[in-house]
Symmetry: C2
Subunit: 252 residues, 2 copies
């Protein structure tokens, strides 16, 4: 996976840090990035505070090939992502005429108030990311892709965006699990499999459910033959414990 483009997600949202809202955007973006062959390397959540947003945008856009942000692009006082991204890039925050016109036409001039006009402001050079749900777009500037926090809108924006993103070799996962397996009993064997397949990431994840717990072994990587071979070895490791392995993830 060394050649896959890298990515980070920045979640701008007091509502995640307060515990009000359960984030579901990371899992969605992570799965889609894996399918596109992009490697998600970091996620950060920061509050709606300009200095914090600007610093995180600049650190993450420098460190990774693409940065995806969610949240803070609506019309209210706590929606400050757009001007913060302009500041991070050192460019003016200005009217995006086509977006302005589209919003004014859709809402009617009498409803296109100062708050809503903020949604037509973008960093100079930004390219809108349309979506199927709201007239107000996200935008891309350089390697930074600014999306809504509302999952349905974000998902539509990501769908627009991914057609423009480059492709890496898709990152696949294979899994096998066994009931009553103890991690400590298979750790040495699993470590040995990882050493034989250095091009893969092998993980071991205990699961707990009413009908009985166990361990899932998950292999992740871009080499399909290696994935199949590693999971076959993981199956034998489970068999060596006197347990019947089951392909795939456990149903929870």
């Amino acid at each position: 996976m060394a050649d896959n483009p890298t990515a980070a997600i920045l979640i701008i949202g007091n509502e995640i840090l307060s515990g009000r809202t359960q984030d579901v955007n990371v899992k969605f973006i992570a799965e889609r990035l894996a399918a596109l062959g992009h490697k998600l390397e970091e996620v950060r959540v920061v509050p709606d505070v300009p200095a914090r947003i600007i610093r995180a945008v600049n650190e993450l856009r420098a460190a990774y090939d693409n940065l995806f942000t969610t949240g803070g692009i609506g019309p209210t006082h706590d929606d400050i992502t757009s001007e913060c991204v302009a500041e991070a890039f050192g460019v003016p925050w200005q009217k995006h005429q086509a977006t302005w016109d589209a919003l004014e036409r859709h809402l009617g001039a009498e409803n296109f108030n100062a708050a809503r006009q903020r949604m037509a402001m973008m960093p100079r050079g930004a390219v809108p990311i349309p979506n199927a749900i709201s007239i107000a777009p996200g935008f891309s500037i350089g390697n930074v892709h600014v999306m809504a926090g509302v999952p349905k809108i974000m998902q539509s924006m990501f769908g627009t965006l991914e057609q423009k993103l480059g492709r890496g070799t898709p990152i696949s996962m294979r899994a096998v699990h066994g009931l009553r397996i103890k991690e400590g009993s298979i750790a040495a064997g699993l470590g040995a499999i990882q050493q034989r397949f250095p091009m893969l990431d092998l993980g071991s994840y205990p699961f707990y459910r009413e009908s009985g717990g166990g361990v899932a072994i998950v292999a992740k990587g871009t080499d399909a033959a290696a994935l199949d071979a590693a999971i076959a070895e993981a199956e034998l490791l489970i068999v060596s414990q006197g347990i019947t392995p089951v392909r795939g993830e456990p149903a929870i």
Copy 2:
């Protein structure tokens, strides 16, 4: 909330970055921290890579009063949080005798293999965080609190830990919502309320559901009288739109 202790969460887990696992630990810790009066200021998710973990631990423990980590403390090859925290603090990673003895007694000497012995290793000076589910503890060192990634075990560890954490003034939330409210129509009024209550964080969150969407207005802070007054003003703002406000969050 300026006087509240600050906190960060570091999630160590390839399984979150790959999209395999939906994180639920942030919301749990965030809610409990708010009740304890600690202000969660940042969350990061990093992969199971030593340099990345060490750097994130050092940046976050320097920036905030407390750092809570989840994940990477089991017996397998990808469980490297403990030695990384030792490295971050520049102290030896060594046998914690009481934990070693407890694990050996519980498992039996014949099952206490090299992989499981790793769970009895801690940075020098660490204090175990017992839990009700597993014999293997988490640990605290300085202002860093290292917990399991499995939610049930993490939650039990946090329960142990919170008795030792200092208390700040609890951070409360109040909410009111209105159906068919448009954010753009109330943005100016809401911004004015925020200006009148600078000690609070006011947020506005659109919601979508089959029976009809709207907007929730949420106020967060430590000043109960201010919270009540701000939410009363938010109610009037909703009324001014010809909509009947409903106290609390919308049921989804």
